[in-house]
């Protein structure tokens, strides 16, 4: 994005537009995440709305990924398209336009699918030949069939099994055992003994079993990949809303530089609507700052010279010049990221059910097969028989069903959650979600929408309402927008000389009197502890316009169903006491704390964990990130800051909170299914292994055991959908 020029006209452009310009993609390809698409009619509506935009060449919706990709001229911005979709009722987020990583993910998936297909076709052909052998093909015919099977199976397995060889090799090199080591060993041993048997025109060859094994395992691997690829790409590519550039003042001239180039003592200009890039002190200008993402305070803070500001705050009304006191790694924003890093190291120690199974399984199988080999060799002194039996044991115990047990369930569960608007980012998130017994919510932006609404509009006289609307129209301040929204049926009064006094409010003239809308101190009113602005007409007493943060859709439902399901529900907020108490009261949460600092949130969660509670943290702000990372599992809404989304395991795509309660129920069901699947897989082994050790197993029995257990496991997983 080298288009930021020294063009003088650009400096005159209002900041919001400048910000939009900076987001303009170089490529004519735009990608949008549209989480609410769910049916055929949605596809048509969204595509039609997008294609109606000037400059758009074509739009295509992908329902599986809930995305729209748009081919358009260079003058089309994502913001315009998002606004167009908003009009037809769909919320959209921009995805990183240079979505190179998305196509790379896709390539990996396609590669796996291709291997699945190839293994499938090879299996079918070899199986045809094997069936004729099982049904009695003899002597020369059997040898011929075995040779043809070998000719198909050897190259097919060599090629399609690559993901397993790579994974097993990297595990062995790190001196570990993973699930892939016994798999590869079984495949190699099966092929080697089968080839040997074929050369000696023996009766049993396991080419079909080895291929079936590879086919089923690849299918499991593909399911796993798809679940994760969908979640990963959507979660990580939600484009950062902030432009990582700042305006530096050098000898009175403005220059645009990347964040990384800022130094201590630089003077930095922050325009209204911009995010403060560094920690510093205000040296010039007056404005109001929105600190909600850092501290959870919902009311804007007055800012003037000498106020200390932190990176991540949003400037609302007037331009500010800031002298940097800490940049880059030293800003409070980054210190918060460090908190996250320490908290996260704890989480990586979580061992999933699959890991536990693999830890028991791999050594068990190897020892069993080695014992069978040694036992039979000592009994018969026949290397060929002993090796054949060892291979049969390895193949029959091979974790076909185990390999499918977890991915089949997580695919079904994640798919169901995705349709409800929840994106599972982390592999073990479902299992951890199932263990939760306590839920901690953040307030601003999580339980509430973060956009205020006017509480007492009806109490205003028509004249005053008209004046307030007229004044509010001159400002982009969030409270002004709330007033305009509340007064959309009120006709604006006829005012002259409307101007914005940065940091204080709006002023104008009405019928010869000065009218003001703004902070309590400015209009001469007593400030109350709730979020409010004051309207003063002429010399009369100032009238109060109160604001209230709106509850998110489904917040009430989510809390009620969580409480009735027996979860402990807590509310932690950095906001003022009265605002938090109001929300807690409305939702019926008895455990709440106000004015909580970020570190306190993390400590609160740690204390709950100490008591043996498994905590689910739901939050969106920077002040929540440490708590999100420290909790057993965490959820953040898509509107959350980047850092919060990265720290959380599950992202809530829609605006509705109610899926959270369902997510907990589904995750419990999913974990139950995974355990059932392990039991099913073990049951098949309990029946088949003694046969194999006793030397009674034939390729037919191996094929039957493998296919039935895999299919049972998959069907069991499908019950979740």
């Amino acid at each position: 994005m080298t288009m930021v020029s020294a063009c003088p006209a650009c400096d005159a452009v209002p900041a919001a537009e400048a910000a939009a310009r900076a987001q303009e993609p170089q490529a004519a390809h735009l990608a949008l995440s549209v989480p609410e698409i769910h049916c055929g009619a949605c596809i048509a509506t969204v595509e039609r709305a997008l294609e109606a935009q000037p400059g758009v060449k074509s739009a295509r919706v992908n329902l599986t990924l809930k995305r729209a990709s748009v081919e358009a001229g260079a003058d089309v911005t994502a913001d315009g398209l998002i606004a167009a979709l908003q009009e037809v009722g769909y919320t959209a987020h921009e995805l990183d336009a240079g979505a190179l990583s998305a196509t790379a993910n896709d390539r990996a998936g396609r590669d796996l699918l291709m291997r699945v297909g190839l293994a499938g076709f090879a299996t079918m052909n070899v199986m045809l030949l094997s069936v004729s052998v099982w049904s009695g093909a003899d002597s020369a015919t059997r040898d011929l069939f075995h040779w043809i099977s070998a000719a198909i199976a050897l190259p097919a397995i060599a090629f399609t099994g690559k993901p397993f060889y790579v994974s097993a090799w990297s595990a062995l090199r790190a001196k570990r055992l993973n699930m892939d080591v016994p798999i590869v060993l079984a495949i190699v041993l099966a092929l080697a003994t089968s080839l040997w048997e074929t050369m000696l025109s023996g009766h049993h060859a396991y080419f079909d079993a080895a291929l079936t094994l590879v086919f089923f395992l690849l299918a499991g691997r593909y399911l796993d990949h798809r679940t994760r690829a969908v979640a990963r790409s959507a979660a990580e590519e939600l484009a950062a809303l902030e432009v990582p550039r700042a305006i530096r003042l050098v000898e009175g001239r403005e220059e645009t530089v990347p964040f990384a180039d800022l130094c201590i003592d630089d003077l930095i200009l922050v325009r209204p609507g911009g995010r403060v890039p560094v920690d510093g002190v205000i040296v010039e200008g007056q404005s109001e700052l929105d600190r909600s993402l850092l501290t959870g305070e919902s009311a804007p803070v007055f800012a003037s010279v000498d106020l200390v500001v932190s990176a991540g705050e949003v400037n609302l009304t007037g331009p500010l010049v800031i002298r940097a006191t800490a940049v880059g790694q030293d800003t409070s924003l980054h210190r918060m990221a460090d908190l996250v890093a320490t908290a996260e190291s704890g989480r990586n120690r979580y061992t999933s059910l699959a890991d536990n199974a693999a830890k028991l399984y791999a050594p068990g199988v190897h020892i069993l097969s080695a014992l069978a080999f040694v036992g039979w060799y000592l009994y018969s002194f026949d290397l060929r028989t002993a090796l054949n039996i060892a291979a049969a044991v390895l193949i029959i115990t091979c974790p076909c069903a185990l390999g499918l047990a977890v991915p089949a369930v997580t695919t079904a569960a994640s798919g169901r959650l995705f349709r409800m608007g929840l994106l599972v980012k982390h592999t073990t998130a479902l299992e951890r979600l199932a263990e939760v017994d306590t839920v901690v919510f953040d307030k601003t932006g999580t339980l509430t929408k973060g956009t205020p609404i006017v509480k007492n509009w009806a109490k205003l006289s028509d004249v005053n309402a008209g004046i307030a609307v007229a004044l509010a129209k001159g400002s982009a301040h969030p409270l002004s927008r709330a007033i305009i929204e509340a007064g959309k049926h009120t006709s604006a009064a006829d005012l002259a000389d409307i101007r914005e006094v940065p940091g204080f409010g709006m002023e104008g003239r009405w019928k010869g009197q000065t009218v003001r809308l703004g902070r309590a101190e400015w209009v001469g009113a007593m400030p109350s502890d709730t979020s409010a602005v004051y309207l003063k007409v002429g010399e009369g007493a100032a009238g109060e316009i109160r604001f209230q943060d709106q509850l998110r859709d489904g917040a009430k439902d989510a809390i009620t169903s969580l409480q009735s399901a027996g979860f402990g529900v807590h509310l932690l907020s950095g906001d003022g006491r009265s605002a938090v108490a109001g929300v807690a009261d409305e939702l019926g949460i008895s455990d709440w704390q106000a004015g909580v600092l970020p570190q306190d949130k993390a400590d609160y969660i740690a204390a709950l964990s100490q008591e043996g509670k498994r905590v689910l943290m739901v939050g969106d702000g920077l002040n929540d990130t440490a708590a999100l990372a420290g909790a057993h599992v965490s959820i953040s809404p898509a509107s959350a800051l980047d850092a919060a989304r990265v720290a959380s395991d599950v992202v809530l795509l829609g605006a509705d909170l109610s899926p959270i309660a369902d997510a907990l129920a589904i995750s419990r069901k999913a974990t139950r299914r995974i355990r059932e699947n392990f039991r099913i897989a073990t049951l098949y082994n309990v029946i088949a292994v003694p046969l194999a050790v006793a030397g009674l197993a034939t390729p037919l029995i191996a094929a039957l055991a493998m296919s039935t257990s895999s299919i049972t496991v998959s069907l069991n997983a499908l019950r979740l959908r």
Binding site: C39, N62, R110, G117, N125
Partner: protein
């Protein structure tokens, strides 16, 4: 048993044809949006040619 000399190549060729078809559909992105394609077939809005 000489019929085998005919049948085995035939089965291999038919299998190969299926495999080729699968690889073709895979390469032309026909598995990228299974849910969407399932819905699109019911849509009344279609044109004469596939979208490029």
């Amino acid at each position: 048993m000489t019929v085998l000399g005919l049948l085995i190549p035939v089965s291999l060729i038919l299998g190969g044809l299926g495999l080729w078809g699968f690889l073709y559909t895979l390469r032309s992105s026909q598995y990228d949006d299974p849910d969407g394609d399932a819905q699109r077939i019911l849509s009344g809005e279609y044109d004469d040619r596939p979208k490029s």
